[in-house]
Subunit: 265 residues, 2 copies
């Protein structure tokens, strides 16, 4: 089971859009996929047409009451399940401040969840607080959506510092698999300069000890495509909303690349 934390503390870089559409592409390829919404703003939940205020509860109940995930998950498509979130989750940051083992609550729940999934993707808020820490403690891989704009590299090193800390103190299995280039504007000098810098940074880590040694930039960038911004308003993934769009092509190609890393195809 590949448990993937999708993180970037920079806002609006494509985390949610990537979790939804990469998750959907993997499900359409026949893999069993569970998506977890760890953002109190519930964008993943809303994007998939679910109700944040669902009676049955979501990630808030999971983190504060250890409610089993099997009670909280909801099927949204063939092979695709989601555990939604609600604004109450914002209170979890403060409520969990002095709870012992507050970063590993989600990991314990995933370990006891009897269902077998091929992929668990965790959508995180734009911060490095306790919600993101739970995802990092529960994950074995990290994917980093990144918009090729100036401050991307600045945020990346801070992010990797946090990953290192979690890997050292809490979760020795954690490693960064790769960076997903999102909202890419091909042919612009800014994008190519930023990606050169990110590539050089990752290259310098090869053979080292850090949890991002060997991390790559996924070779499929996700191009800027208005269809990707439109499909949340219909509660759909890009494959239902605009299956012939660049957005659909790019996320399908990314899913192939992700699967090929371990499945060989």
């Amino acid at each position: 089971m590949r448990r993937i934390a999708v993180i970037n503390q920079k806002g609006g870089v494509g985390k949610t859009t990537s979790v939804v559409n990469l998750g959907a592409a993997l499900a359409r390829a026949g893999r069993r996929v569970l998506l977890l919404d760890l953002d109190p703003q519930s964008h993943l939940t809303l994007h998939l047409g679910c109700d944040p205020a669902a009676e049955s509860g979501g990630t808030y109940e999971a983190l504060t009451q250890s409610t089993p995930l099997s009670q909280l998950r909801k099927q949204v498509a063939k092979n695709l399940w989601v555990v939604s979130s609600h604004i109450d989750l914002a209170a979890a940051e403060v409520e969990l401040v002095s709870v012992v083992g507050r970063e590993v609550i989600l990991r314990d729940l995933l370990e006891t969840h009897q269902e077998h999934y091929d992929y668990v993707l965790m959508d995180c808020p734009p911060s490095l607080g306790v919600l993101t820490l739970n995802a990092l403690a529960a994950a074995n891989e990290v994917f980093i959506p990144l918009q090729p704009h100036y401050l991307a590299l600045h945020g990346l090193s801070k992010l990797l510092e946090t990953v290192s800390l979690v890997a050292r103190r809490i979760n020795s299995q954690l490693h960064v698999t790769g960076v997903i280039v999102c909202m890419h504007e091909p042919g612009t000098r800014l994008a190519s300069e930023v990606l050169e810098d990110v590539g050089a940074f990752l290259q310098a880590s090869v053979g080292g000890e850090q949890p991002w040694a060997g991390a790559r930039i996924f070779s499929t960038p996700i191009r800027r495509n208005i269809k990707l911004a439109e499909c949340p308003s219909h509660g759909m993934t890009i494959f239902d909303y605009a299956p012939k769009s660049n957005g659909a092509d790019d996320y399908a190609a990314l899913a192939l690349e992700v699967r090929a890393m371990v499945e060989g195809g």
Copy 2:
């Protein structure tokens, strides 16, 4: 002195870009402007070419030690000062959890700051936590940068709820002046649909009691323009980096509109 909190809990919608370039446009028009970086990620600080780790301190020292702003501010251009931030500020959320009056620390500092400014603009992180609450308690106006994408309206009502709470319990002077349309893609159906909805929502509040009654959408949208994404890498505002670009035109026009609201010109 117009004290303006620039807020939106949605990530990456143009808060920092707007504080930098609207602030710069107002300074170039001869107004005295103070910018406050309330984001632990220090993007405002970096965008203006300042060092987040400045020896002299920043908003973290202001909030946790009540260091006077006159000791913390730094001049970055004619008529333009900034109080920078540092990653330590992330700790403030937790450090201030049980401090009495934790939301009004900044307001007290602004009130004792002897300098006269025409405008104070406060750049907030993508959250509604204690840092944003401090900005709302210290402000008399709220500007809301908004990207005309689907989830904009969903976030807006949550945001206005928070503004209401602060206005009722802490700061009766607080009112929402307007929404700044950022990263606008003219001619797209998504943008026009979202803006229609936002416009209708604000229109419905006219004549009411809420702190956003009478809020408008500023008539100058800021169009998507790669120059705006490039200038942070040079530590410059758009007016120094690309004075003839659409980005410069749009922020200059927005500044005129902002000034005309009270100065009549």
